[in-house]
Symmetry: C2
Subunit: 140 residues, 2 copies
Amino acid sequence: MKRKRREVKNGEKNTFTISELAKEFEISTRTIRYYEELGLLSPQRSAGNQRIFTRKDRARLKLILRGKRLGFSLSEIKEMIEMYDVAGESEQIKLTLKYGEKKLREIEEKIKELEMLKEDLLAIKEILIERLRELEGSNP
Amino acid sequence: MKRKRREVKNGEKNTFTISELAKEFEISTRTIRYYEELGLLSPQRSAGNQRIFTRKDRARLKLILRGKRLGFSLSEIKEMIEMYDVAGESEQIKLTLKYGEKKLREIEEKIKELEMLKEDLLAIKEILIERLRELEGSNP
DNA sequence: TAAAAAGATTACGTTTACGTTAACGTTATA
DNA sequence: TATAACGTTAACGTAAACGTAATCTTTTTA
């Protein structure tokens, strides 16, 4: 019988190994280690020096991968993630707010561009469907 | 007086040099040549072998750059662009349609993910504004 | 408890998307 | 018409984001 590796409270898994996350998100363990190398993740370590990922780490990884799919670089993603931990003086917070607003504008822009691209593809689709109708019509 | 290099009909420029496009889109000429190398662009050539870009080439370049900003790879962008020129048998057109629909779903997905990211950033923003209010309130 | 599986670190390799430089041909303009 | 400005190809270089392999340590499991 397969034994659960770590503590599980009422059916909710609370920690994960590197390969569990790798499998879940369909990425390599190397990729996860690389993200840690860049400071995007900071999992705790077990007594034997193995990485232990919490649910929070997992959520972060999810965010990282989302950022990637959306065309942000890992350093941009790092900056965005760091917004979660800003603490300290008012000046720092103001700067972070400015940055966040800039990113929000970028996101709006990307949404608009995606919608334009979508329109383009829909137009092509119509043309292709029409072309197909002609072909199939004359050659049933 | 600066003379226009090529024919201009009623104020509408119809052809462009590589550096004109590079300047307009704030990219390098190398980048444009690279896109041609990959088959994403196919400008005509002048008698002296210099590239001549039409408005159509320019529109393509715009599409390429949009794709890039949205996180598509150059080979994905190439596939999408090639949808414009599909001709021939019904089978080929059907395949292209399938591909187009896949891409459309991807685009929808990206839009959703951008909305989620946007929500995340808005939430962080609220937290930061609150934190700032506390700080400034106690230290006017 | 010993073998197998999983994890860690290190380091070199690879792909994508260009940057940079050289060496030479073409065009524009003073 | 000379010469600056621009364009061409070729080739080597580079940063980002991992892939891969080797070697060793830790965990799991038969």
